[in-house]
């Protein structure tokens, strides 16, 4: 099916840029958009632009947020001595949905994968280390920036106090909740080698998760069980 309108064709092309949207699906979506009231289309368009303009990265945990630091890092009752390390923002959502976890997070932004050209320099690993020790105590070969040395511009005095409180909190436990595949394993090992010499316990959740399955797709019951049964690395 070929639309006789250049605009529709353009929309189809743009939609196929999204993951798991093939040409056929894009055509169906475009046909649907054509029938939608204008106001609704504007809402979608504005939402798309808003995520790009308004959403930033939390200075503390690197999760996506409208307000820096994010709500989880701001929450005073969350246990700041436990950090759950995840690959991306969707994993935070998955774990939050279980309602079992009361600690805070650290979003790596991916996993080590030479085939995809991703090394520790592309991940928030040095930033994680900065939450545990001072910059001087991080091994020199760990690439990346030292994080919150100078607070970003969007941070007010209140936010700055929260960032400092996190930095001052003594972290007792790191939970590595990376996906149970070879890239996740290797990233977990890399981090555990850095954290093991410190007075911080490192655990890994993996049990109960389908092998090779993504955290994002694990159902909540499995994830709860995995969180309870986490094992020491």
């Amino acid at each position: 099916m070929q639309f006789s309108s250049e605009s529709v064709e353009g929309l189809v092309e743009q939609l196929t840029k999204l993951p798991s949207i093939g040409r056929k699906t894009a055509q169906r979506l475009a046909a649907f958009v054509l029938k939608m009231p204008r106001a609704e289309v504007v809402e979608i368009a504005e939402a798309l632009i808003a995520v790009k303009d308004r959403v930033r990265e939390c200075t503390i945990c690197h999760n996506v947020t409208d307000r820096n630091p994010c709500v989880i890092c701001r929450a005073p009752r969350r246990d700041r001595s436990t950090i759950c390390v995840v690959e991306d923002a969707n994993d935070v959502l998955a774990i939050e949905r279980t309602g079992e976890y009361r600690g805070v997070y650290h979003v790596l932004g991916g996993v080590i994968s030479p085939l995809n050209g991703i090394g520790p320099e592309d991940l928030r690993i040095r930033e994680l280390m900065r939450r545990l020790v001072s910059a001087d105590d991080i091994p020199d070969d760990v690439p990346g920036t030292n994080g919150s040395a100078t607070p970003p511009e969007d941070v007010d005095a209140e936010a700055e106090a929260i960032i400092e409180a996190h930095q001052a909190a003594a972290v007792e436990e790191i939970i590595l909740a990376v996906n149970p595949n070879v890239e996740g394993d290797t990233t977990a090992y890399y981090i555990s080698q850095l954290v093991n010499p410190l007075e911080v316990s490192v655990t890994r959740i993996a049990r109960g998760l389908p092998i090779g399955g993504d955290l994002e797709y694990a159902d909540e019951a499995t994830l709860s069980r995995a969180l309870e049964g986490r094992g020491s690395l």
């Binding site: 080590i112 030479p114 085939l115 070969d141 070879v182 080698q193 092998i211």
Partner: protein, 383 residues
């Protein structure tokens, strides 16, 4: 396990074929190139998502056809009704459906429908390089243990990642890489040791099955053995921790060489199996007859092993294997196929004549299927 009915669409020589099978021996006769072997390949596709003949899916698809499809109706000890359908679309790959539900991953079907194939190509097992022997080993253990297949898939992925990293290190040495490589080493050692340990445990078990199978087809008392040649010498008491230690030592030893070549140089992907008769390596010293007997014993042993481990009689696919056998051996083998030790089997041959003298082809447990020009021509209607 029993296959009751098979349907093929645009599969090799077959445009659209349907055929029903008997519970005992199914003889598939027809001239060369008629499409006999294709039926066996199709069964193998359903069991293991690929043919026993090395070939890409693209060539299995009939020229000009948009996709091929194979569907089989099975029954077994655990599942009384199992309908398995495999479809291949160029560019999209293969999908497998069990009782109508798609499998998330193709590997999930492995072990559900145990199968053993035996064809003239199997002479490579005893006569050629180590790849064939590793494949033989991997095929059995994967069917018997889902964890093994999973470990091997992950091992291969780890090796690919590690090879990429090694070649990146070769191009430019960043100080961060040493720690990253050490992390991949840990994963490689963990998975590689699991694979080696499972292979080792399997071969210890398999020895009895091989000796017994050999005794069934050869009256001369010869002792068949398999020696496992891997990263380190193994004894029956070797633990996985021992293997991991040896593995790390070996990695240290080859570290410089690996960085230079940008390749993982040691591990289960380099393992070798040495087949021997009375201590003499089959590949070098065995006669033609001994090669054939050893190959057949390997396949029979595989059959008995899977039968015992899975509590399910594998399907036995015998492609053109009777032609080189003398009448005595043919008869002995057919007697074995007719007996209780073996379940449903599928035998291809050019001519019915030689079988007619050795087995009653019209017994209700057997069936004769005539194939010609990519069609089943007899029995006239498949039910």
């Amino acid at each position: 396990m029993q296959l009751h009915h098979l349907r093929l669409l645009a599969f090799r020589a077959h445009d659209a074929t349907e055929v029903a099978f008997a519970p005992g021996i199914n003889f598939i006769f027809g001239p060369n190139g008629a499409g006999k072997t294709n039926l066996l390949e199709a069964i193998h596709y359903l069991c293991l998502t690929k043919s026993f003949v090395a070939s890409s899916d693209r060539y299995v698809l009939q020229q000009g056809a948009p996709h091929f499809e194979v569907e089989g109706q099975f029954s077994g000890m655990r599942r009384s009704e199992l309908r398995v359908r495999l479809a291949y679309v160029p560019g999209e790959g293969k999908r497998v459906f069990v009782n109508g539900a798609p499998l998330e991953r193709l590997s999930e079907i492995v072990g559900m429908l145990p199968v053993v194939s035996f064809s003239p190509d199997d002479q490579a097992l005893t006569a050629e390089g180590p790849d064939e022997r590793r494949r033989f080993l991997d095929n059995i253990i994967s069917q018997a243990k889902a964890a093994y297949l999973e470990d091997r898939i992950q091992y291969r992925r780890t090796m690919k990642q590690r090879n990429e990293l090694l070649s990146q290190i070769g191009r430019s040495s960043s100080p961060a890489n040493a720690r990253v490589l050490a992390s991949w080493d840990a994963e490689l050692v963990r998975l590689g040791s699991r694979v080696i340990h499972m292979r080792h445990q399997f071969l210890l078990d398999f020895a009895t099955f091989l000796a017994e199978a050999y005794g069934r087809i050869e009256e001369v008392a010869e002792r068949p053995t398999i020696t496992y040649d891997t990263i380190a010498p193994l004894t029956p008491d070797t633990t996985r921790a021992d293997i991991e230690q040896a593995y790390r030592d070996e990695l240290d030893r080859v570290a410089d060489n690996e960085r230079r070549r940008g390749l993982t140089l040691i591990g289960p992907h380099r393992d070798e199996l040495v087949f021997a008769l009375n201590g003499l390596e089959v590949r070098r010293y065995a006669s033609q007859g001994q090669h054939r007997t050893f190959g057949m014993a390997l396949k029979l042993a595989k059959y008995f092993y899977l039968y015992e481990r899975l509590d399910e009689a594998p399907l036995f696919l015998l492609d053109d294997v009777f032609d080189p056998l003398d009448p005595e051996r043919s008869e002995a083998f057919l007697t074995l196929l007719e007996g209780d030790a073996i379940g449903q089997s599928f035998v291809t041959a050019t001519h019915a004549k030689r079988f007619a003298e050795l087995v009653s082809l019209d017994a209700p447990t057997h069936r004769v299927i005539q194939v010609d020009d990519g069609k089943v021509v007899a029995p006239a209607t498949a039910s």
